[in-house]
């Protein structure tokens, strides 16, 4: 099932619209909210992963556009700076999806972007501050 990670930028006037509900009900999509900051009168941003049938995804994107919600694809979200990272492995047990793992032979810490859900736990756990978020 195709899935896409998107950043939705809400204008202030659509805050009242139950967007996620519509996406589930009308377009049969699975939704995983990764990050949300939406305030009345200010609008905001919602980062989420949508999965569903290709045609449903396309119709859902058209629905979002009709509301005036700007949609961007989320690309390469979490960055691991290999110069700063000493591969201490402090981040590994706290990563909920196993995206940060220890490579077996070299004991180097590696980041699997496909598994990362941008929960950001690792950012303040890394004592070398080698991990940051790129939007």
């Amino acid at each position: 099932m195709p899935s896409r990670r998107l950043i939705l930028s809400y204008p202030p006037d659509v805050v009242q619209e139950p967007v996620t509900y519509q996406l589930v009900k009308d377009y049969d999509l699975k939704i995983n909210i990764l990050k949300a900051r939406i305030l009345p009168r200010e609008g905001g941003r919602l980062v989420m992963e949508l999965s569903g049938r290709k045609t449903d995804l396309e119709s859902a994107l058209a629905y979002l556009a009709s509301l005036g919600i700007e949609v961007q694809t989320l690309v390469r979200e979490v960055r691991l700076d290999k110069d700063k990272c000493l591969s201490c492995t402090a981040c590994v047990p706290l990563c909920p999806t196993g995206a940060l793992q220890v490579e077996e032979d070299g004991f180097e810490v590696i980041l699997d972007h496909d598994k990362c859900v941008v929960c950001e736990v690792c950012v303040t756990v890394c004592p070398y501050r080698a991990i940051d978020i790129m939007f």
């Binding site: 000493l86 981040c91 070299g106 756990v125 004592p127 070398y128």
Partner: protein, 392 residues
């Protein structure tokens, strides 16, 4: 046939020395037996690259005109306070020091973005930092205020001076409480969510000479890229811990005080660290050569992760309250595997000591010895608790 330090140094000089890392030693002893390995190998190198909180630098600043007495005054480097209780121009900067206006843990958990360790790293990287100093002024040192960019060039001497490094073994930290806690062993999730440790295990210097037969005062070491020395037992050095059959302590035990020339160090081998909710500290690269004097030294230097054990301690209650309670013991082989079992629960592990970097430290020390750049020393006095140390 036992070897002496003099004989090993002669081999280093003539390029005949045989050096292996403590990790390689494990396989060698397994394959050939301890007798053959002890005959073949002259030096085993160890290494660790790990937070070592009791670290700092002592430096002497070149005098301006007119002269100034820092002693009894105040000084900061990039707003991080340095200790001014020494003579006119000797200052000390600890790696845990924080800028005066740093938010610390006012909003918990604080991020501790900058501190003494960052200043030390910048200096070693060749950068200049802002010195701001106030003095009370004397007839011989009239200057009362000084603001200047200073780097290693503005220092007559700069040494790393660490009262406690190289902990022999360390606790595995867990959290038995119901809320997340932030410690010097990282963020610990409630109800045994994770287990954090901090040792290079099979490569950890003091675990490989567990009863200090060869490591003593005056032992030359690899310290952040420079040649340094063991200068004293470290603070909190415990000479008499419970030990396994192989002599390795089952709890955090021995420590060493070390010094080395800061001007010879490399930014690659020391790194500032920020522990959320806890503070700033310095990761130090430390490597110690172990001269293989006889089979016993060889056997102990080749102790594998399976035979080195760390205690599991609850950092929500037992550690802060000092109860001394240990939940259990676990081998470094289990810790390195990525998960351990505690009270029937599988708990993922993480380390603050970098094993991949520990390998590089032990490898670098091996290269320096094998190429004749690094000669080993005969220590002049034993560490407390030493067994079999040969004094003159």
């Amino acid at each position: 046939m036992p070897k002496t330090i003099g004989e090993i140094n002669q081999k280093i000089k003539t390029g005949q020395v045989v050096v292996v890392t403590a990790e390689e030693a494990v396989g060698l002893v397994r394959d050939k037996g301890v007798k053959a390995a002890a005959r073949e190998v002259d030096v085993v190198t160890t290494g660790t690259f790990s937070p070592m909180c009791s670290s700092g630098i002592c430096f002497n600043l070149k005098q301006p005109v007119p002269k100034m007495k820092f002693g009894g005054g105040r000084a900061t480097l990039n707003d991080v306070p340095a200790y001014t209780g020494l003579a006119a121009a000797d200052l000390f900067l600890g790696c845990n020091a924080l800028p005066q206006d740093a938010p610390r843990n006012k909003v918990h958990p604080g991020l501790f973005k900058y501190g003494g360790a960052h200043v030390i790293h910048e200096l070693v990287s060749g950068a200049k930092v802002d010195l701001a100093a106030e003095a009370y002024g004397t007839d011989c040192y009239p200057l009362r205020e000084r603001r200047q960019k200073v780097g290693l060039e503005e220092m007559n001497d700069a040494v790393m001076m660490n009262p406690r490094n190289g902990y022999q073994n360390y606790n595995v930290a867990v959290n038995l409480s119901d809320k997340t806690i932030y410690t010097y062993l990282g963020r610990l999730q409630p109800r045994l969510g994770n287990a954090n440790y901090c040792s290079a295990g099979v490569l950890s210097p003091l675990l490989k000479d567990p009863q200090f037969r060869t490591i003593g005062l005056g032992t030359a070491i690899f310290l952040c890229g420079a040649r340094g020395y063991v200068v004293w037992p470290g603070t909190q050095h415990n000479p008499d811990p419970p030990r396994g059959d192989n002599g390795a302590p089952l709890v955090p035990a021995g420590t060493i005080a070390v010094m080395g020339d800061l001007k010879m160090m490399s930014p690659q081998w020391l790194r500032p660290m920020s522990f959320t909710g806890y503070g700033v500290t310095l990761a130090v690269a430390l490597g110690i050569p172990i001269p293989i004097l006889d089979e016993e030294v060889m056997a102990r230097a080749a102790a594998p992760n399976e035979e080195l054990f760390a205690p599991i301690v609850d950092y929500a209650e037992a550690y802060p309250q000092g109860t001394g309670e240990v939940i259990g013991r676990v081998s470094y082989a289990e810790l390195f595997s990525g998960a351990i079992e505690i009270e029937g629960k599988k708990v993922p592990t993480g380390s603050f000591s970098s094993f991949s970097k520990a390998r590089q430290v032990a490898g670098e020390l091996k290269t320096r010895i094998a190429s004749g750049q690094f000669k080993i020393t005969r220590p002049v006095a034993p560490l407390p608790g030493a067994v079999g140390f040969e004094e003159d």
